[in-house]
Amino acid sequence: MDYATLLQLLDSTLRLATPLLLACLAGLFSERSGIFDIGLEGKMLAAAMSSAAVAFLTGSVWIGLLAGIAASMIFAMIHGLASITFRGNQLISGVALNFLASGLTVLIAQAMFGQGGRTPPLVGAARFERIDLPFAEALQDVPVLGPLYYEVISGHSILVYTAFALVPISWWVLNRTRFGLRLRAAGENPAAVDTAGVSVVGLRFAAVAITGVLCGLAGAYMATALQAGFGREMTAGRGFIALAALIFAKWRPVAALWACLLFGFFQALALRSDVVDAVMPVRVPVPVLDALPYILTVIVLAGFIGKAIPPRAGGEPYVKER
């Protein structure tokens, strides 16, 4: 494998890791507050459809992005209603919302555009354009680092840089602010939060809302930046890979970045089976690469690579003492 191929691989790793990272951080906020969310996939899908449809109709990707976040937010609030207000089973709620999103997106896209459940292809201002970072052209000829900067780091859409910027921001919010401390406490020991006079319900709804926004970004990125339009089931299990990354990262933001980059790299490899064949001594079937994130997650869950301990009150509805 030569340097140019490696750069191409890393470039697509960043692009493919971005939706995973956004969804992973989304799940992080929710689960740290004690609300399990296996509905990341559905929220991404809803956001992808809504953002692509609105971006096509208005011709503005920014309005599309807002529509994507709104759609994701509606799903997040239903999840909040079911699992916080009505103390329902959070896992079942997530499963239900995934199905709802899977069906509704196709139905609505079909009713709006009549193109077999897809949205029309997005062009021009209806998509996120690539951004060339300063000096990328000029530094291109610097050996080794120049091409790395030009090919891999520069030339992505604004959402890619947003996703990576959100990693330190999430870390700071969770670990260095009062809100973050309370949010984590709500996920570990909600009774203590309640005793301190802080509303567990309010904190958890805030966390679920953040999840909605971040999943909205992830879905909008899928439809308006990574690809040009919505197609049925276009998230293709990324919500679950993000969930896997979250567990792999043991519910920590910076580790989530590395986990998502790793899983993004696997996805990039699965697209380039010629590279895998050239590097590996034995032939690796593509399905093995597809399954790697899931296999790794099971190994992590089994506690063979450090123990993944979820937030203690995760999945448990909080019942105030009466």
């Binding site: 499963v95 919302l97 995934n98 199905f99 069906g103 139905l107 079937p285 099971v298």
Partner: protein, 385 residues
């Protein structure tokens, strides 16, 4: 909070949930510019209005009984098995291996028994790893079973493309199963097949070139009776055996069960193995009974529908059978919607999601609603007296 009378808990709660899901589905239909009344008529007509429609409805029902029972058994041990989809697909692999690579089966009954056993064993084996990880290492069963769905799908793609695909065949599928292993469908079973007679203009049954009577082919097959038998077996297991008692006790309260000498590891393993076996057995219906070979994504989401069926059926085999029939109707009716009204078949997934939402996650809301209503009546009666 007041308790609901038992009949309300068993009958009214699922009915109200179903009503809410149906109402929202109607609004969805209006939203995409369709008439809910017309859609409902088309569904009833297409799924229940003819023997032909029933032949498809009952085919889907068969699959959903298996996956619904699978989720039910796990639920009773307070385990949420979302892996029915993967277990069913691996069960299909078991069916294919038994039919293709063992002996030549002399009769379909023997082939059915062997294939059902193979499917159950493969399905159970696929559930065994998540079960073991839950029991011994505390890995959350929901996440591991989801992961195993994806691993199963990737594994089958590999097997069908690289291993099981006969030389020279283009599509990723196994070879066709031997002739003698085909299960009798409803158009071949004496007594039932009369409903599927192909009649000519005068109402006389038509005869083909070989002089045999002609019947319309439908996918529903003898597996339905196996499914119904399994429903009885699951009922007997859960409410008439020591093991069933232990499973339910464990599900009600793990500390109490532990105190009573019930081993958590053992119960978790056994409940999940039974659950996986039931999900795997679904493949007898679709892989052996319908397709006649192993295809990619053979279970077509039936593993997930099992969740809705188990919740709707209130985790009781009788309820599961009824809920499976409802979803069979929904599935076949949904296909008719696509053919006749150009409503995408995804409408089925929307209804499925709504049913899971209302019966599973918003259960408390429905219950609160009913309890309020009931206490209203009670206080009135008390006031009158």
């Amino acid at each position: 909070m007041d308790r609901l009378p038992r009949w309300a808990d068993v009958v009214l709660v699922p009915m109200v949930s179903l009503f809410l899901a149906a109402t929202i589905s109607a609004f969805v239909l209006i939203g995409i510019g369709q008439s809910p009344v017309e859609a409902f008529n088309v569904m009833v007509e297409g799924a229940l209005g003819s023997a032909y429609g029933w032949g498809f409805t009952l085919y889907y029902t068969t699959s959903f009984i298996f996956t619904g029972l699978a989720v039910t058994v796990a639920f009773h041990a307070r385990l949420f098995n979302i892996g029915g989809e993967g277990q069913a697909q691996i069960g299909g692999l078991g069916v294919a291996l038994v039919l293709l690579y063992t002996v030549a089966w002399p009769h379909w009954t023997l082939a059915l028994a062997a294939a059902a056993l193979g499917a159950a064993m493969f399905g159970a084996a696929w559930a065994a790893i998540p079960a073991y990880l839950q029991a011994r290492r505390g890995s959350h069963i929901v996440i591991t079973t989801i992961m195993f769905n994806y691993i199963a799908a990737a594994f089958l793609v590999y097997l069908l493309v690289d291993v099981l695909r006969p030389v020279g065949q283009m599509d990723p599928a196994s070879a066709r199963f031997p002739e003698g292993t085909a299960l009798p469908t409803f158009s071949e079973i004496p007594g039932i097949r009369q409903f599927y007679a192909v009649l000519d203009a005068e109402g006389v049954q038509r005869v083909n070139a070989q002089g045999e009577l002609m019947f319309t082919g439908v996918p529903a097959n003898v597996t339905l009776f196996l499914a119904l038998a399994m429903a009885v077996v699951v009922w007997a297991l859960l409410w008439r055996t020591r093991l069933g008692y232990q499973i339910r006790a464990f599900g009600m309260s793990e500390p109490a069960a532990r105190y009573a000498g019930i081993r958590p590891v053992y119960i978790t393993m056994v409940a999940m193995l039974i659950s996986g076996a039931l999900a795997g057995m679904m493949s007898v219906n679709n892989v052996m009974g319908e397709a006649g070979r192993l295809l990619q994504n053979s279970s077509e989401g039936a593993g997930f529908i099992g969740i809705a069926v188990a919740l709707m059926g209130r985790k009781h085999p009788l309820g599961v059978v009824l809920a499976a029939l409802l979803f069979g109707f929904l599935f076949q009716g949904g296909a008719e919607l696509g053919l006749r009204l150009q409503i995408p078949p995804e409408m089925r997934i929307v209804v499925q999601g709504l049913v899971i939402l209302f019966t599973g996650a918003l259960d408390v809301m429905v219950r609160m609603l009913l309890t309020r209503t009931f206490s209203l009546f009670r206080s009135q009666r008390a006031g009158a007296a």
